[in-house]
């Protein structure tokens, strides 16, 4: 039985898909220009991950090892198509603003990686937890990066929330900075790379600091080095 807390810790921090495995960078970098679009794509990815992990885990005894990758791809592609069509139906504005990146969730390596590395070897329960943890971890990075880029680049936060939460959220936009025009660089693609680099560095800094604190207080700290599959 795999430790549930360990899975959550892995997905959210120790082995975060965005910050540690550096998987799924294409949507992570392309869509994180506002907090809301980051959250939208993060949620879509989370749902795809959960559904595909559940299916892969439930069906894991039905295919031969040689054909598992095509089976994963088929499951993931069907899930993404379903999500894409639902978003077009119920979240039309958001789906238009995310554009090609919703269908492109198919190519997000995080999802295939979790299917291969976890769901195809574990029972349904742990696979569900793993998908939730990894998906939440990915969405969290998208939202943090999106919020940071939005604040620096446009001086607002949660602009366009009505696309995700309906008309009542139209007034959620928080003007953070008093500028008419923010730092354009943050909204452009280079800003995404710089922002992600800073996030990875910040995470590393926190880890180093807690490791130093651990060395001082305990003789043998259990600092598991995050592994990249």
């Amino acid at each position: 039985m795999t430790d549930i807390n360990r899975i959550w810790r892995d997905g959210l921090w120790d082995n975060n898909p965005g910050l540690v495995q550096l998987l799924g960078l294409c949507p992570l970098l392309a869509v994180s220009n506002t907090a809301v679009s980051g959250l939208g794509l993060g949620l879509a990815t989370l749902i795809v991950l959960v559904v595909s992990s559940l299916l892969v885990s439930a069906l894991r005894h039905t295919w031969r090892p040689e054909t598992r990758i095509p089976a994963f791809v088929l499951i993931i592609a069907s899930t993404v198509t379903a999500i894409d069509l639902s978003m077009q139906a119920w979240l039309h504005e958001l789906s238009r603003s995310l554009g090609i990146f919703v269908p492109l969730i198919v190519t997000n390596c995080t999802i295939l990686a979790r299917a291969e590395a976890f769901a195809s070897r574990q029972p349904v329960g742990p696979s569900l937890v793993d998908a939730l943890a990894q998906g939440t971890g990915f969405a969290a990075v998208l939202v943090v990066l999106g919020a940071g880029r939005e604040v620096v680049g446009r001086g607002t936060l949660f602009d366009g929330a009505e696309m995700l939460f309906g008309e009542s959220a139209a007034g959620w936009t928080i003007p953070v900075l008093p500028f008419e025009q923010g730092l354009l660089l943050a909204v452009l693609p280079p800003g995404a790379f710089i922002g992600l680099g800073l996030l990875v560095a910040a995470r590393q800094h926190l880890i180093n600091r807690s490791r130093e604190a651990g060395v001082k207080s305990r003789p043998a700290p259990s600092t598991a080095e995050p592994t990249t599959p």
Partner: protein, 334 residues
Amino acid sequence: MRQVLCALVPAVVAHVWFFGYGILFQLVLAVGFALGLEAAMLKLRDRPLKPFLSDYSAVVTGVLFALCMPPLAPWWVTAVGMVFAIVIAKHLYGGLGYNLFNPAMVGFAAVIVAFPLELSHWLLPRQLSPGLPGLAETAQAILTGGLPESLNWDAVTGATPLDRLRTGVTENLAIGEIRNSPVFGDFGGLGWEWIANFYALGGLYLMWRRVISWHVPVAVIATTILVSTPLWLLGPDTNPSPMQHVFSGALVLAAFFIATDPVSGCSTPRSKLLFGAGVAVLTLAIRRWGGYPDGVAFAVLLMNMAAPLVDRLTRPRTYGHYRSRKESSHPGGD
């Protein structure tokens, strides 16, 4: 480093003569921000302040950055540029000696991407301007970002010669027609070509003092001429002359002062030649096809990335060793 600063003095004086006091404000601002940020980063990294602040490397970064800026750029543009130059390009990569990229050029690339409008306000030279902004007006423009009421942007600023060439060529004008515009001088832009001459003068002084070697500047300028001459001879209406290329934009400044950076550039004589040639070819390509009128900063950054590879390709043979595959591979294997 102090000699580099001395070598830039004539060009700065020429800049003030042609374009007014703006450059002096930019220099003071950029150097001030550079030193302040350098001190802050050294403090954060628990490094001693005095040896690092007195090596003048931050000052040189600030000065080179300021020389690339439009004279009336508002102060916050310079501040953002110096944050990228000193904090990100220099100290996050490990400080002087570890920086992969030329800090001044990283700062400039960041601000030209982030503030395209502010970076397009180039003053017209003295001969064409209805009146260069005075000290007080310059200070007001830089501190507030807006011009005083006596001036307006359209009167005192204009497209740079390279901008004008680019728009002219896209409108299917022949180079000869475009060059009838008064912003052009004998070779490059009016005013600009003289400043380029003074950069070259300062660069020759540095070569004479053996601060820089001849390889990079010669490679940059010779390659620019070698590549653009046949194109110009084939199509003089669509391709600017080689002299135009050399004396436009920041090419001479880059050849003598920026591409010669010993940290982010190449180290052996042959690799320096290749490095300079690469900067020149990329600059010409960006000027011709790129989205920005001058590509020197991007060319230098791209070549900075290639510098370790170029160094490796041109590694000199160790005395007593033969040229063989075995010896050229690392012990650990590549």
